[in-house]
Amino acid sequence: MTECVQCGADVTLHDDAEVGEIVDCTTCGAELEVVERNPPVLDRAPELEEDWGE
């Protein structure tokens, strides 16, 4: 259980959440990145364009 960095609401991480996974805050919809699992630490997921190389 941890807080959304955007709106402060509670965010529950499911048991098999992985580091690097993105979870959406069900309250404000922000994309959050799992930085650590135990204890759970979330950060804003980076805004990324869908650019690809060759």
């Binding site: 996974e21 650019d51 190389g53 060759e54």
Partner: protein
Amino acid sequence: MTHDYTKSELEAAHEELIDNDLGDDGLRTDGGAVGGDEQSPPVVVKIGGARAVDPEGALSDVAHLVANGEDVVVVHGGSTAVDDTLEQMGEEPEYVETPGGVVGRFTDEKTMEVFEMVLPGKLNTDLVAALQNEGVNAVGLSGADGKLLTGPRKSAVKVLEDGRKKIKRGDHSGKIEAVNDDLLSTLLAGRYVPVVTVPMLAEESRGEGTATEYTPVNADADRAAAAIAGALGGELVVLTDVAGVYEDPDDPDSLVESVGTPAELDAAKDAAEGFMTKKVMAAVEALDGGAASVTVADANNRDPITAARTGHG
């Protein structure tokens, strides 16, 4: 040089492509006159990757253009050849899918080494030699040379893995935002034909008050061609390997000859959309950036470039 594409913009361009029956006509979009000098704008020819060294019609057509006194820049890719070489070295090419459903290469450090070996190495050298054999005074360059193609590093990508959204870091990839057109003009003025490929040189800052560090990274060759055409105000001609629409772009036997059922139509549209979306994006970027015109044409035509430019694609 960034451009946000709305879904309707892409769909509209896509529809035009399909209606135009790509095998006979090219998509031709004129961006209006660029510059005011008496010289015609340079022609920037994008050659497909896998067949970069083999498109004999295209190479002799480049020779015709040059013999007619036109300034030409050739741009090429080579993704398939990178995969082949990775496999020869016992490595698996890595592809990932975005949450939006776009599939693309994830370029880790080892893949980046092989990328440098294959694109500026084998393909570019062989293409330069092939053009020299056609009497074209080709000079090969990558985005690193003279900082020809630069922009920010994109080391994190959002991917869909086992149904979950994740951030994958460590991608050796970047977005082209600037072109050193001086290098190209210098060579063109010297009567040389630049033959350009990726990688680009990505700029990364290591923190406050530290100098920018440059790293060669993967970038899309179609976007490179678009950026170059934009910077030079040139006519962009994109030669595609596909004679029509392939259900699987890597499988020559999956050419969709005709579409019967609604399911077949959807599959064909998806394939065309996936394959052409990048090219449409590149076309729009080129015009946005200053290109005089953009034509997409079939590489398999005889004299494909000339045909495309005169509308006989």
